[in-house]
Amino acid sequence: MLETFNSLMMGFAVAFEPKVFMYAVAGCIIGTLVGMMPGLGPLAGISLLLPATFGLNPIIAIVLLSGVYYGAMYGGSTTSILMRIPGEAASVMTCVDGYAMTQNGRAGPALAIAAIGSFFAGTVGVIGLMLMAPTLASFALRFGPPEYTALLLMGLFVLAYMSGGSMLKTLAMAFFGLLLGMIGIDVMTGYTRFSFGLVELGDGVGIVPVAVGLFGISEILMTAGQAEPPKVQKPKLRELIPSREEFRLSVGPIIRGSLLGFAIGIIPGSAHVISSFVSYGVERRLSKHPERFGKGAIEGVAGPESANNSAATGAFVPMLALGIPTGPVTAVMIAAIMVHGILPGPMLIEQQPELFWGFVASMYVGNMVLLILNLPMVGLFVNLLRIPYAYLYPCILAFCILGCYSVSNSVTDVWIMLGMGAIGYGLRKFGFDLAPVALGLVLGPMLELSLRQSLAMSGGTYAIFLERPIAVTMFGLALLLLALALKPVLFKSRDWRADVGLDDKTDGAPPGK
C-alpha cells in the first residue's frame, strides 16, 4: 500500500512537471473541442492526433492522448445533450434523456450532472486501475469467446428495460440493428455480406454514422420544417445549476454506473460500449418512476455518462498491465507508445514506472482539469441554444457531414449517415424507438463472432458454454435477468398488454371492439 502511495507520488511529480501538465491541459481542451464536433468522438480524436505525438516523448504523448480521449468524451456528451448528436456509440443513451432535458429547459443541469458524474467515474476508474491493474488484468484474460457470448447476451436483455414504448416495437428495432450489424465481411469465412458490391461496406456500417444519422439528422428533419421554429432558449443563471432534487436522484446512478462501467471496461474486446446501455437499463429498472425515462430523467444522463467514463478507464487496465488492446482506442494508444520504442506488455509497470505512474497521475489531473474546465463552460455551452434555429441547423448539418467525413476520409460514411437520417425520420413518424437500433448494431457483429468463435474452439459442441465457470455464472445471471423482465408479462396480464402495445392508452379504443 505504502509502495503504491510512493509510486503515485512519483507519478504526480511527473504529472505536475510544467511541460507534462501543459500537454495534459492542452489535450483536454483539444479533446473537448474535437468531441463537440458532431460525428467526431474519442476514437476519431486520438486517431487524428496520433501522428502529431510521434515527435513528443512517450510520457507526454500518452498524457496528451488520454487528455484528448477524456476531453472528447466530455465534449461528446455536450453535443448529445444540446443537439442530440452522439459522438460515439456510448453516448447514444445520453442523447435520449439529455436532449429531452434540453427541450424541457434543463440543459444546464444535464451538462453539469454529466460533468460531475464523469469526474466521479473517472476517479473511481483511476483508483481501480491503480490498485488492482495486475490482478484484474489476468482475470480479464480469462474472458474468451464463450464468456464474451454470455456477456453480450446479457447486454441484449437490457432491451427489456430500454424503452417505455411497445415491447414489440423495441424488439423490431433491435432486430433491425442486429441485421445492420451483419453487413460487411464475415470474419469467420471471408464472405462479404449485404455489401451491394461496395468495397467501402466491407467493414460494415460504422456505429458513428448510423448514430449521428438516426439521432442527429432525424431530429433536424423533424424540427426544421415545423410551422413554428423551436423557441430560442434564454437560460438564466439559476437554471444552470442542478436542483437539490436532481442531485439527490443522481447520486445512486453515478455510483452504480461507475462500478458497472469499470467492471465491463476491463474485459478485452469492444464490449465497453455496452456499459452505457446497460447502465441505462439498470437505472430504468430500479427507478420508482420508469415512465419519466425518455422524457428527461436526470438518472438517464447520470448513469450512462458515469458508466461510459469509468469503462473508458477500465479499458486501460489490460492495456497497461498486459499490453493488449481492449478496443480500437487502446490500440491507438499502444501504437503511440510503441513508436517510441516502448513495448507495452506484462512488464511495463516494472520497466517504465514513470510512464505508468505518470499516466495514472495525469488521469487524476486530467479529470480534475476537465471538471474545472467544463463546469463554468456549461453556461457558455447552453448559450449556444440562443442561436436562432434557422442559423443553427444548417451549420449543424454541415458539421455532421464534415465530422462524419473526416473520421476515415470516406464519402460512403456520409451517405450512410444521410440514409440513416431518412430512415430514422420515418421510424420516428411511426412511433419506433431508435436506441435499440444502436444497441443491436453494436452487439450484432460481436455476438455472432464470439458465438461462432466459441463453436470453432470447441469443434462444434455447445458444451463449451457449460464447461467454463465464468460463462456459466453469466448465463445464470442472464437467465435471472430474463426472468425478471418476463415477470410482469407472466403474472400481471394488464402490464403485458401495455407492453406489447395491445392497450394503447393514447388511443383509448377498447380492445376487441
Binding site: 416495437k169 442486429l178 428533419l221 426544421a224 410551422a227 458539421f399 459442441t461 455447445y462
Partner: protein, 161 residues
C-alpha cells in the same frame, strides 16, 4: 384525437392502421433480407456459416413484424400521421446529398459555402450580409480547424479551394 377538417370522424378510425402498415414493411424487409441471404451457405447448428445468423435474425424480424401488425389494430390510422414537415425534410436531405456529392468534386470550402448560402439565403431568407458572413465564416474557419490544425486532408476542388 382532434378532428381534422378534411377527414371526417368515421374515416379517421377506419382505414389502414399505422402499425399494420409498419408491420407489413418489416415483413417485407425481412423477406428481402432472407432472399439476399440465399447467396450464403447456411452451415449447421454446430458450425454456423455466414448465412446462419442473418437468416435467424431475418426470421425474427419477420415474426415480430407480423405480431406488430396483428396487435396493431388499436394504433393510430395511417392517414392520421401528419407529414407537415416532410417537404422541408426532403429539401434538407436533397441539399445534404448535393453537398456530399460535390464535396470531393469542387472541394470542401466551396461546397459548404454554397450549401449554407442555399439554406440561409434561399430557404430561411435571412439578410444577405448575414448569409454571406455566416457561410464564408463557417466554411473558412471550419476548414482551418479541421484541415490545418487537425491535419485531416479535406478535399480541395480543381481551383485549389
Amino acid at each position: 384525437m382532434p378532428e381534422s377538417p378534411e377527414s371526417p370522424l368515421q374515416e379517421d378510425s377506419r382505414g389502414l392502421k399505422s402499425d399494420r402498415f409498419s408491420g407489413a414493411v418489416l415483413i417485407a424487409l425481412a423477406c428481402w433480407i432472407a432472399w439476399l441471404n440465399l447467396e450464403f451457405p447456411l452451415g449447421t447448428l454446430a458450425d454456423p456459416g455466414p448465412g446462419y445468423v442473418p437468416l435467424l435474425l431475418a426470421v425474427g424480424l419477420g415474426v415480430i413484424g407480423l405480431l406488430v401488425a396483428l396487435f396493431g389494430g388499436g394504433s393510430e390510422p395511417l392517414r392520421g400521421i401528419r407529414w407537415t414537415e416532410a417537404r422541408r425534410a426532403l429539401v434538407i436531405l436533397v441539399a445534404c446529398a448535393a453537398l456530399t456529392f460535390a464535396l470531393e468534386r469542387i472541394g470542401y470550402r466551396l461546397s459548404v459555402f454554397a450549401f449554407l448560402v442555399f439554406f440561409l439565403g434561399v430557404i430561411e431568407r435571412k439578410h444577405p450580409l448575414a448569409v454571406l458572413a455566416v457561410a464564408a465564416g463557417f466554411s473558412i474557419v471550419s476548414f482551418h480547424v479541421v484541415a490545418v490544425m487537425l491535419g485531416v486532408p479535406l478535399p480541395r476542388g480543381p481551383w485549389g479551394f
